[in-house]
Symmetry: none
């Protein structure tokens, strides 16, 4: 099993595709470079999704995140790119990526992007007492 | 009374099947093995359900959870498998399993899966002042 | 006035039966025995109800709770039994019993059961600024 | 101005009867006697109301509460009686009394009673960003 | 620029009358006199409004609040009077005044009054993820 | 790359215009001058928006905020002006600016202004369990 | 066993007089009368002591506190009187009484009085890792 | 009993002069005028003392604080003056006055002054487990 | 009275030089320029001192802080300079300045500097129960 | 590098043996078996030490902890054994192991053991202002 940074996202078959369930991953160790100054940027990413036929494999996700370490990336662009790559790899019913970037120039930025499969509707939530 | 790990889930007759009520169990001591590396994984499980004719017996639930101690199990799969086993054993009206796995590769994962009996609808909640 | 444990629930006439109002009682000192091992179990009970013609008397409620001290009782069963006894004694418009049992076998259990009088509907709540 | 306990509730003209507004009073120093044992009971009262033509005067409210100091009173009854006296004195559009009694016999009790003027409906709340 | 207490509320043209926006002012230093005993009362005021053509000027608001320092004022009346003066001066689309008075006679009182311009409806709020 | 205060807001093409996503920026270092007294004012700004074709560039936003350092500006006006400049530069689908100004004259003020593109409606939020 | 208010403090033999240990009692339901106005005062009392040969009996302590319900008492005096009565009844090695009175005239008062037996020295506290 | 502001501090005999005990009073409703601008200032005062032969009477303390309502007073001076007046009236063994003034000119100020009777030494504190 | 930024620190005679007391001022609105980039820096300052013969006047302190608004200043240097200026102006017995600067380059810096008059010793603190 | 459970603790040379510094490791995933019942136990371990010539290697520490997964171990014994193994491997100046075991039989247990090298004295702590 490789342990090099890689843009390759491995997937595996959703073990229970007949049920809509939620997977939530917190990825606090994301770092990339500022495309303007070349200095490091840091972010806390939160990935939430309802899989369809495929799930993203945890280790390849780690290596994928690692692959941004030496790349320049604007906040808004990299959040959308990561979401798109994850959507392309897994075709989920719903996916949301929240990227909380650390303060730069006295300003801190959060970008939140979602994908909804065409025609998909969120199930009505059940609130137990 | 046996105290060996076991996949056998014992049930008992719901003492009050004519009423919809909630049972919530917190199971903080779940551990299994990573199927890729063989290393231990840990999770905090929360089980919530509205029983129909059967309830799951507490001690057999503990032994059932123990049975994963030496098994390899992916996060998404084991959450769904446990839910399915519990649904198969008790045929509840509603059941939700939340599995919060500890950080691996700098990423922590939560999987939340639900079962709803066909045709069942959640009762309208009563909010008292 | 007796001070022995007793299954007898005393009631008194609702002093204001023409108004729907809420009575909430917190009963943190409930203890019974595990029917399998005979060891003590502990729970925090919360009783909430809207009375109709009768209210439950506080001291008899205390003695009633005391009566479980030397009885074996499963979590799910005892919660429903207490609710039923209280419903039988007071015929309330609405009653909810929440029983939070302490950890046993590494698992802690909460059982929440409700009674709604046939045809009764919860009044629309008023939210003041 | 008298400073003796008194059941007399003084009122004054609502200074702005054309507007629906909220008056909320916290009364943490309520004490009465247990009608069974004669021992002191204590409660924290919260009064919330939307006045119509009359408001309750603060000092007379204090003396009114004081008047229960030497009276025996059940939790449920005294809460409803106070609400009724306040409704009789002020004929409000809406009034809610919450009485949180201190622990007795290991059980603490809260009673919440409301009055709504016939035909009155709560205004839709405005939530500002 | 005068710095004397004054009932005169200065206003200025709303710099952006074509947009509904919220102005929220916290005024923790309000004091007046009890009209019965002549003793000082204290309150924390919160003013929230959606202006129409006019905004209230900050310094004149401070001097206006100061003008109550030597005036007797009942809790309910002064809250409504201040709201009315502010409404008369600025004709806002919506205005809410919350006055939290300090404890007197063991009771603390909060008065909350609102003005809504005839025909005005609150805009539907936007909740971003 | 210039580092002088500037009213010029640079923008860049929204990297993902086909998706509605949220950008939230916290700008705690805003300062301007009081137009009446010439003394410094301070505020914490929060900018939230859903971009259409354009995003605001982070560094130019910092320089834009810096440009108010030596300008006189009323609380209500400067909040609306900044929102308008940002709307003019980026034509977003939705934009909200919250400006929390520090206490002046014993009163602290928050101004919250929103822009909604004509015909735009907020998407229904998805709540995952 | 009587249940009338009483100034009689019952004691019992310290079951372990050869050891210095701490007894801490919280008494939140103390009420007496203001000796100037006759109006009720309220306090939360905390009693802490290291017994010598005698301990104070719980129920008699409750009845003792009740005995102040109809007595006029200044804050400073009643705190010292209660301490003295408890010292006279139990001759403790150390005793501290903390009385937190509710706000009166916009001022709230706490009185803290201690007794140390002649020649007694507090044991050096042990800090465990 | 007068209820006018007054610089006269009434005292009463310490009910227990043979014991060193603490009296702590919180006085959140202090207000005076700025001697430069004539505008109101506000402070939260905390008075802590160990009395010798005399205690300060609560109501006269309230009227004394009230007497500053229309007086100009610098923060540092008024704190010391109040302490001196209280020391002159009661000759305590120890007295500390903490005055937390509200923000003025973007700066908030706290002044803390102490008096120790000549030759007095604080008793060694007792820490109970 | 001038309201222009000024390096002139006004002082006034300590109203009680025979007593050692503490003055603590929180100054959250400090801003200067980075001497390398010319960009704004921000800090929260806390000044604590025991005056000897002189106190610093509040308004001149505000104008003094304002005087740094257009000056370049390194974090460590400006903290020490301000302390020195305040020491030179007031010759206090003790003075401590804490400057908490906002994050720059992903690092936030706090500088804490003290002055002690030659031969001065801090008084032993009194801890009341 | 092996990834099997192992009792072998690897070490590496302390990179700065001339300085006393602290290493603190939190190990929340410890599990072993109860030697009486064979059922799983769980604990959170905290290791703190001041190294002398050697440091413990992180991965071997993980594998060492893993080695207890299938071993029976009493709480008190296993805490001391782990401390001894770590002391034997690294000969530290100071080492403390805190083991917080999860509730068993309604009781949760924490065991804290320390090692101090002969003649070693902890440096006096420096408290900065």
């Amino acid at each position: 099993m490789t342990t090099r940074p890689s843009k390759e996202l491995e997937v595996f078959d959703n073990p229970q595709p007949s049920r809509e369930y939620t997977i939530r991953m917190n990825i606090p160790e994301f770092t990339c470079l500022c495309p303007k100054t070349g200095q490091p940027d840091f972010a806390n990413l939160t990935l939430e999704y309802i899989p369809d036929q495929l799930c993203v494999e945890l280790k390849s996700l780690k290596l994928y995140m690692w692959s941004y370490r030496d790349e320049g990336a604007f906040h808004e662009a990299v959040t959308n790119t990561i979401l798109e790559d994850l959507v392309a790899a897994t075709s989920p019913k719903f996916m949301r990526l929240t990227a909380e970037f650390w303060v730069r120039g006295g300003i801190d930025t959060t970008v939140i992007a979602e994908h909804r499969a065409p025609g998909w509707r969120a199930p009505e939530p059940v609130e137990l007492p």
